[in-house]
């Protein structure tokens, strides 16, 4: 199984940098997801790794061997395209055996390999159909089988689910992860969908403007993001502007715009009067007797819980979740909110303003 490492990879088109100075190591058998909004450079990066593009600068190493100038057909990487790209004039079996045949295997050997991989994705009964006769989800499963049948040591998934229905997407992402973990191959998956990234990955690399913002396991990124953008991009969160008003050896005190004081654990590196942004996820906000005053604007039923949207006295929109069996508050009702001290994150307030710092496009 290969270990991939990118060293100072830069991809430039004229004066525009698609990706810039990327250093990244992908371990054996790891499921790594590159996550970011449109135009962040994630597709450029995967095209460089695949060999479809040659980087303007930097090197790509697979198992310590420099493959920067190895043409794509000799790299043994399986690539699954966003638009699926099954050959429309070949039957499913032919599509899957294309890779083996290209390596000089006989038709029989190719057929055998195709059968094996189609069985893995539960598509054996579609053997003699043309891609056009399959549904979108089925097509993508065949495409994955095709990519793996070529003997790929590394599977690259370029937004593999974005052409599919939301509900199909959900089922397929669990299936993809199960499959690749069974085979133990290394995967690099590119997506803009944070839910998808969270469910499939061992590790997520968050990208923005051609650079890596941060990378960590889904749980760490959700609970303890190092960066305001990550906090906003992965999962939903409430962002409140404030100022550090006091600190002791355990906590800091954050003063919101309306003067309410909120106590937050840790973060002792902040100084009094620092301008900050407080980020707290809706499941860590609770109604209480005393806290931040807020007024309910909307109540949404989310299936497994209610989402309550409020406007706080500090002019921030604050949302919180309550269990589905509880009676939701009425619209217009006034209430007090408190935040989970341990699960609140504090960031230095960005100079360009919050909305610019978390802008999605």
């Amino acid at each position: 199984m290969p270990r991939i490492s990118l060293q100072k990879v830069t991809m430039r088109f004229g004066d525009i940098y698609a990706v810039r100075d990327i250093d990244l190591v992908i371990k054996d058998g790891e499921y790594l997801t590159i996550l970011g909004p449109s135009g962040c450079g994630k597709t450029s990066l995967i095209k460089v790794i695949s060999g479809l593009w040659t980087p303007s600068e930097g090197r790509v190493l697979i198992d310590g061997e420099d493959v920067t100038d190895v043409p794509i057909e000799d790299r043994q990487v399986g690539y699954v395209f966003q638009n699926i790209a099954l050959f429309p004039h070949m039957k499913v079996a032919k599509n899957v055996s294309f890779g083996p045949r290209m390596q000089g295997k006989t038709t029989e050997e190719g057929k055998e390999i195709a059968d094996r991989f189609l069985k893995l994705v539960n598509m054996l009964d579609r053997l003699n159909m043309f891609p056009g006769e399959l549904s979108g989800g089925e097509q993508q499963k065949v495409a994955i089988a095709r990519a793996m049948a070529s003997g790929a040591r590394l599977l690259l998934l370029d937004e593999p689910l974005s052409a599919l229905d939301a509900r199909v997407r959900m089922d397929l992402r669990y299936e993809i992860r199960r499959l690749v973990k069974e085979l133990g191959i290394t995967v690099i998956h590119v997506t803009h969908d944070q839910d998808e990234a969270m469910s499939v990955s061992d590790r997520i690399v968050v990208m923005r403007n051609g650079s890596i913002v941060e990378s960590d396991s889904p749980m760490r990124l959700y609970r303890r993001p190092n960066n305001l953008f990550t906090a906003y991009f992965i999962g939903e969160t409430n962002l409140l502007e404030g100022m550090v008003s006091d600190k002791d050896d355990r906590n800091i005190l954050v003063k919101l715009r309306d003067g309410t004081d909120i106590k937050v654990g840790g973060n002792r590196h902040f100084n009094i009067n620092d301008a900050i942004v407080l980020s707290v996820r809706p499941e860590y906000v609770y109604p209480a007797k005393e806290g931040l005053s807020a007024k309910v604007v909307q109540v949404i039923y989310m299936g497994s819980y209610w989402r309550v949207v409020t406007r706080a006295k500090s002019e921030d929109i604050v949302e919180y979740n309550i269990p589905k069996h509880h009676e939701p508050p009425a619209i217009g009702q006034e209430l007090e909110l408190v935040f989970n001290r341990k699960m609140s994150m504090v960031y230095r307030r960005p100079k360009e303003g919050i909305s610019e710092a978390v802008r999605l496009e």
């Binding site: 057909e73 690539y79 290209m102």
Partner: protein, 548 residues
Amino acid sequence: MSLTKRIDDLSSRRDIRSGWFGIITFFFLAFIILPTVYVLIYGITDFQNLSDTVLDDPETMSLIWGAVFTSFSLALLVTIIDLIVGVPMAWIMVRKEFRGKKLLDTLIDMPLAFPTAALGFSIGIFWGLPIDAPVPPGALGIIASPYILIMLLHIIFTYPYMVRSLSAILEQIDQSYEEAGMTLGASRMTAARTITLPLFRAGLITGFILCFARSLSETGGTFIALITIGQADKFFTGPTLIAWFKRSTLAPEEVEAILAVVSIILIVTAIIFLLIIKFVLGRINVPFDKVWPRWERVLSRGMVPKAKDAISFVWLFAIVIIPSFFIFAYLLVPSPAEMDWSGLINALSFSFMVAGVVTLADIVLGVPMGLYIARHRDKKLAQIIDSLVNIPLIVPTTALGFSLALFWTSQDLVTNITFLVIMAHIAFTYPLVVRNVAGAVMEVDPSYEEAARTLGAKPFATFRTVLLPIVRSAVLAGAILAFTRSLGETGATVAVSSEANTVPVYIVNLMNSGDYYLAAVSAMVLIMVSFVFMFALRYTIRRDGGGY
């Protein structure tokens, strides 16, 4: 209430819309399709007469069959050669980015702007051995065979059709198919051969038919090239045979009968042949499956692809561009002392008048038809019209012109030559406009129009304010194509009447009377005029393209 407002309101009524479409369809069927194939009806009703005067005359018949055979073998050969050199060129144009690509793009289209009459002259003096035309310095003069000379000529003006239709399809084939093949271990050449080429079939067929029909139908260029080398009364293609008989001194009834037979044979065989091509090419199973990984890998790398690209460029310049432009070498030949410009001016003004009227008619009647075809592809009627539109493109223009004149004069409906010439030119340019518009509209997502309708726009207002601005450049392209084609057409004009004095006919007459210098000057003038139009076209399209 303003006129547009009134039309907007009328367009909201379904019965009015159907009525308007009925009128357009009637015009198309009665004034274009029927006259084009009228000679077939004539052939059936007057069979006895034809049989007596022509069919039973073995000498004439062998002349006719010989000419038709020459036409078909030429067209086939030319098309195959175009295909072989066209595929690599289309690949370069679509899949590669390089400096000077726009220039190359223009160069490939060059022959479209050359009136074939001018081309024929240029080719004749460059490759051939002219009998008494003065030869400018630089001419090669190495080809004595009229067959090869005509082949070289036809390759030039069919080449852009082939490259264009191939690249149009290639552009639509998503590159990710090839990329997918390569990630699966296929070398560049294997991926192109096993994946892209099979998907390419539609483009091959269109290119094949366009080139074939164009070559089959060419009259003026062929005729003039033959005159230059003194073979015009010895070597015939189907269309030049018609032109030759039209000028012969035989009795008019006899000429009519002979021309009818030639026309019928040309039309029927052309249609049958093209149906066969469509059927056979669509079904041939080339063994795309076999792969030779090692050999193809070798062929995909290093010198081989470079050599292939180099040959494509050499072909473009040595065979297409330089011979076409050779006519300008006439500027180096000393001019005779006196020149009579009045004939050229008369011919020019007549040509312009015809082309102008024709283009206008094409736009008014062709744009709605293109729109209908593009937006009702699921309806039977639209599909039928869609195939009917191609008929005037397939039918050799000489046969078309003859048939059309026969239709109008047979019942003494109209005998005015100007009218007949205009109708003939409309018949073979109308499909160009319809095709262009239909093609462009099909590319436009119907949701633009749907959005406009739900925002309160009446159908005609939707067309005016949304669709037309979006496809404007395609309409313009169709119009200019129609204009230049009309300007350069010889065959149809001659077939209608040998007295209609358009510029190409004027050139033929000059050459027949040995006035080569003036003929060359007239050809150059015609080329320059066409160029101006073509560059105007490219300018508008490019400017439009930047908008969105």
